[in-house]
């Protein structure tokens, strides 16, 4: 394949140029996207850096601090993972333990269906089911807040984590099953004593991907979290995330004074997602090095 690259005959230079003509705009567009967000958020770091990175959000008095939003996003994502990661391990474990069972194929179908449910539909369901429920159970709260958002988000992050865990764990289960069975171990013993201790990388991938989904989602925090820019102190407190902040300010306010904080939030989000992507790529490489035959391409 490499020889033909270097000495392209004249006839195949035209398609080459056509392809390049389509690919270069894509590259330029992506560069433009990141450049724009970076360029617009630059003044923030030059001038009023202190006021942006402060804990106060009082636009009337000129305080545009986004620290509460950063804290909100992080807290929400971490708590979501605390709930959904063990659940994802459990569900993928079930699929691995009973690979031919009818319920497993049901679970597979459900997971595929869940990737197809729009976020805003989860939002509607949680708004109508979960919020009134929380309001009657915990009478001191309005129902909107960290807890409602966290429960709905954990459902949203589940499918991607289940898929990646199951794909990667199945690979090593296939490798070690014969050995384990010959030692007299049951399938669940093989899984708990051999596969899971040996697969920190699969868990890391799942956590990173789930974290990315949880940080990046806009609609659920916007609909469920209450959106008060404050430092959350309990599970029932209302929070505002970076994504919801962008959506909220853009769709309600039309003054340019608050726009700076938008670009600062956008920049923070971008920084988080870029670092998550870099970690994912590293993990994927190490996985491919360990399993050269496996196609690590889980469907997005």
């Amino acid at each position: 394949m490499q020889e033909t690259d270097s000495i392209l005959p004249a006839a195949s230079r035209i398609p080459h140029l056509c392809l390049l003509g389509l690919v270069i705009p894509v590259f330029v567009l992506i560069a433009l996207l990141f450049g724009f967000l970076f360029w617009f958020s630059l003044p923030v770091f030059y001038s009023g850096g202190n006021s942006i990175f402060s804990g106060e959000w009082q636009p009337e008095q000129g305080h545009f601090g986004i620290i509460p939003m950063i804290k909100g996003s992080m807290l929400l994502a971490v708590l979501t993972l605390c709930l959904s990661f063990p659940a994802a391990v459990g569900i993928s474990g079930f699929c691995l333990l009973h690979p031919k069972h009818r319920i497993t194929s049901l679970v597979h179908g459900m997971v595929r269906f869940m990737t197809g449910i729009p976020t805003v539909v989860y939002g509607l369901a949680a708004l109508m089911l979960l919020v009134p429920l929380l309001r009657t159970w915990f009478t001191q709260s309005s129902g909107f807040g960290l807890l409602a958002c966290l429960l709905a988000l954990s459902l949203l992050t589940l499918p991607v984590m289940i898929m990646i865990l199951e794909n990667q764990l199945r690979e090593s289960l296939n490798q070690h099953q014969l050995t384990g069975t010959s030692l007299g171990m049951s399938r669940s013993e093989i899984l708990t004593h051999i596969i899971i201790p040996c697969a920190p990388q699969a868990f890391a991938s799942a956590i990173v991907l789930g974290f990315g989904r949880a940080v990046g989602d806009t609609m659920l925090p916007l609909m469920l979290a209450g959106n008060a820019p404050q430092n959350p102190e309990s599970l029932f407190d209302s929070i505002r995330t970076l994504t919801a902040h962008i959506g909220l300010v853009l769709s309600t306010e039309h003054g340019s004074a608050t726009y700076n904080s938008l670009f600062a939030s956008g920049f923070m989000l971008l920084a988080i997602s870029v670092s998550l992507t870099v970690i994912t790529r590293k993990l994927e490489r190490s996985y491919q090095r360990r399993h050269p035959q496996a196609s690590s391409s889980a469907q997005p």
Binding site: H16, L97, T119, V120, V121, G123, L158, M223, G247, S273
Partner: protein, 288 residues
């Protein structure tokens, strides 16, 4: 002991998932059943007048359906060729600095939260208004372009995966037949990966149809009627769900939200189900 506990945990989690999801779907369907009829989509207007656009439809979902379809199709049209070209490039010319950068950029783009695309579109309009075209405003075209950026990485990565999963023996045979690089791509690799690319297109259709954050910031509004031109504002299903669930005043408006959510869920779930089947087929070694 540990194995027993783990097994128990697996059972508990799976039961919880099945119960929760079943509950949610049952709730949504049961709530929207009374509203699922012609009036949900067309209101009081006669069906043919509504479809042909003669009479404007009020308080029903027809404009939102049309809006969602048009914005999705336009986004696909914009993103299709560049996305597939990027995928081919990444699969076939992987060893240069440009390709490494491009691959990284596509990966980063795939992980970027969708609200940032919305922010980008919003900034673009601000920029255009100040410097180039003062009349620029939020519109169908802007939403579609931002959605196109959103689905570009899906198109690129599915195309790349499909082309890379063409068996090595086939590649070697093309060398043995003396094909050059472009003959190989055009006559062998592309026809062979049609199914994978198709599943990528369906996947991006679903992604574009369900996304709310982007269109909310770039031009979807609550009551715009049928989209009159590329530069007009429009209605969309996901935005209607969001809007009516937050601002409903009557039972009927809430019913619209439920009806829209079931419609959208059917649309995306069918798309993803077909995608999954096609994708599985394209990966299995025995297909032809």
């Amino acid at each position: 002991m540990r194995a027993r506990l783990f097994h128990l945990w697996c059972l508990v989690c799976t039961c919880c998932l099945i119960l929760t999801l079943g509950g949610i779907v049952f709730y949504l369907v049961s709530q929207s059943l009374p509203y699922l009829n012609g009036a949900l989509f067309f209101g009081d207007t006669p069906v043919w007048d509504a479809i042909s656009g003669k009479t404007r439809v009020w308080g029903a979902l027809w404009p939102a359906c049309v809006g969602t379809f048009s914005v999705t199709i336009i986004a696909l049209l914009i993103a299709l060729l560049p996305g597939i070209a990027t995928g081919i490039w990444l699969a076939e010319f992987p060893r240069s600095r440009f390709s490494t950068g491009l691959g990284l950029a596509i990966d980063v783009l795939a992980g970027t939260p969708s609200v940032l695309m919305g922010l980008f579109g919003f900034t673009m309009i601000l920029f255009l208004r100040e410097h180039i075209a003062p009349a620029a405003n939020h519109s169908l075209l802007l939403s579609a372009s931002c959605l196109a950026i959103l689905i570009l990485p899906y198109l690129a990565s599915t195309t790349r995966t499909a082309m890379q999963s063409v068996p090595l023996s086939l590649r070697i045979s093309t060398h043995a037949l003396g094909m050059n690089h472009w003959q190989r791509i055009w006559y062998v690799l592309l026809p062979r990966s049609t199914k994978g690319i198709l599943s990528g297109i369906m996947l991006s259709f679903g992604r574009a149809a369900e996304d709310t954050a982007v269109i909310m910031l770039t031009g979807a509004v609550a009551s715009a009627g049928l989209p009159s031109s590329l530069l007009a504002r429009y209605e969309a299903l996901p935005f209607s769900i969001f809007y009516y669930s937050a601002q409903y005043q009557t039972k009927g408006e809430l019913g619209l939200a439920f009806g829209a959510s079931v419609t959208l869920m059917c649309l995306t779930a069918t798309t993803f189900a077909i995608t999954g089947m096609v994708y599985q087929q394209s990966l299995s070694p025995h297909h032809d």
